[in-house]
Assembly symmetry: C2
Homo-oligomer: 372 residues x 2
């Protein structure tokens, strides 16, 4: 998996086995490869600026090189032999809402990948392109993680909220004794995307390590009030967003007045961190329940300031990290998801959750590239 | 199939059945949908100029709309029920030669397609992206047609040359009693690409209907001499080209001096038609034999001037149209190929011909998108 944070590829080797109504998920190994700075910047530019198809094809080829390295490392770490691989590819565009192009109704999502390169390297089937089928059926094509949350976390007596804080943050609300169709999931707004962008803008850093920068700042009330008005946050589910709504460009527009006012950069990071926490909490209050167990995953689970702000916003909730809850490291969850989705697709099982994506019907997701 | 001519989508419904060492190919129906002018121009721009990934995703969605229409028409025309579909997508880039990007060795080819849209519409598996596996194995990823030529045309006693004149022209040389590995195939140079571009440049027309414009012109010797020096033509196989080498831009550079000299446009079309015929003949003389049966397919088979120029260049050869030879209309051959390749991929059969593409080994081609 490589997510909207554009920081690199996470790989997981997972043993999957069907036991009656459960698929057992056994994590055998993980690995993570960071993208070199230049390549990360090129991917980011590709989400925002025009590029030649030649450049895009090269980006896809280079991306598969890093997927291959992460996969090789994870396989070596696990000591197992891969039988199939699921890859997400890099989302460069996501506009599942209906719009017109050349007089034709379009809904689009674009995950850069060249699965044949991975299939040729490892000699096993590769499943990829997990979002287009749901979008073709009128759905948002996102989030994909709810079915895994349901598989991992469903509980006979408690309501569980799975919260993933990647570039974008999303939640899955799993009522007691949930069936797949009784769960509800949606993006809540930014995860680390704006925090990371501000860290880069002021200090050239990739992220706010442990949330220490945010902890050193104080809330800028006028900025907080402007952020509160972003309509996506309170909009009812189903809803999903990519980097379009929470782009660097939009952030620049928000921050430009503060540059002139010489506001301390720590305060800006603190306010963006508060906004991430508030937007998550606001969604849980409105569309779930504030008395719940929240199981946190994604890079944002390492941001202690973000988590304590979230606790302050939701005093009735219990907040637990995924690794403490079920032994899967926070950073490995989305990679585990890819293996789980590939397993379902190869077994002919549908994986999209209609109550979540808004599609007409549930679908087997992805394309299968046989080993050449 | 939609080819480098960018003129539209050809669809064919084919019944395929394995009989000992042959796969019987029975054409049940065909259809053709032309792209609207604006969309065709947008695709052409996408091969040459930078564009946003958002625009590219929209082009893919609109392209699938026309694929769907062509497929629906062909299925209706055949009276049959589709069980699987093979789609080529639109080639927007093809650079299978090794090159470096971000310090990584890349070989790239890019076929625009969103197979999930087609799979969702027809409810059957869709096979797509037929070129990337061969490129991943070090091959040129082209041409794809040789295995179909071998299936359709191989002869116990005669050498056959299958010639397809699309945007680019390619030949398959099939010796008597050929095995797959004894055939040889490669692009010879331009097919209709420059003729079409000149027809558009001077008359706003899409192509030279029946070759009548070329028939009214005479050869411009200095232009012919310049064209003869294009190195691709005489280069030894394996070789393949997309529109990169025979782009509008290169043509503009060739034609600019003639504009100033007020040369009649018919002469330019005649000279470009001669160049197409000469480049095909030169390749057959050098890399096959000039005493052979040439079975012609593709849009260029309708250009009588081109075929008679070819006869003049190769007096020892017998030139027959594919429809006269085996009942498959010239224009349907590449669409039949897509069905044939999909059949092979779904049956786990390799389809790339190593002697043709230069790959390390033969490969099962394409990705299978199950009906969602």
């Amino acid at each position: 998996m490589s997510g909207t944070s554009l920081d690199g590829v996470d790989a997981a080797v997972v043993r999957l086995a069907k036991h009656r109504d459960r698929i057992a998920i056994d994590l055998l190994g993980t690995a993570c490869i960071e993208f070199p700075r230049q390549f990360r910047q090129a991917l980011l530019r590709a989400t925002e600026e025009p590029l030649r198809v030649a450049e895009l094809a090269d980006l896809g080829c280079v991306l598969m090189h890093y997927y291959n390295r992460a996969l090789a490392d994870a396989i070596a770490c696990s000591g197992a032999k891969a039988e199939a691989i699921g890859i997400h590819g890099q989302t460069l565009w996501h506009q599942p809402e209906s719009h017109e192009s050349f007089g034709i109704e379009c809904r689009t999502t674009f995950q850069l990948a060249t699965p044949a390169i991975v299939a040729a390297t490892f000699g096993v089937p590769v499943v990829s392109d997990f979002r287009t089928a749901d979008v073709a059926l009128g759905g948002h094509g996102a989030p994909l993680v709810p079915i895994l949350d349901w598989e991992l976390l469903r509980d006979p007596t408690h309501c569980i909220v799975a919260l993933n804080i990647g570039g974008i943050a999303n939640v899955t609300v799993i009522p007691p004794k949930a069936t797949v169709e009784s769960i509800c999931a949606f993006d809540t707004g930014p995860g680390n995307v704006w925090i990371d962008a501000a860290m880069h803008r002021y200090w050239g850093k990739r992220y706010d390590d442990g949330g220490r920068t945010a902890a050193a700042g104080t809330l800028i009330t006028p900025l907080a009030e402007r952020l509160r008005t972003i309509e996506f946050i309170a909009a009812p589910p189903p809803k999903s967003t990519g980097r379009e709504l929470f782009s660097r460009h939009t952030l620049e527009e928000l921050l430009a007045p503060l540059d002139r006012a010489m506001v301390p950069a720590e305060d800006i990071v603190a306010t963006l961190t508060w906004f991430t926490a508030w937007s998550i909490a606001e969604n849980i209050r409105r569309y779930a329940t504030d008395r719940t167990t929240i199981v946190v995953s994604g890079g944002g689970a390492n941001n202690a300031t973000l988590l304590s702000m979230l606790e302050r916003e939701l005093p009735g909730a219990r907040i637990v990290r995924l690794s403490d809850y079920c032994g899967i490291p926070e950073s490995a969850k989305e990679a585990v998801l890819m293996a789980y989705l590939a397993y379902r697709t190869l077994g002919g099982l549908a994986s999209s959750v209609v109550s979540v994506t808004g599609a007409h019907r549930s679908a087997v997701l992805g394309s299968i590239t046989p080993p050449p």
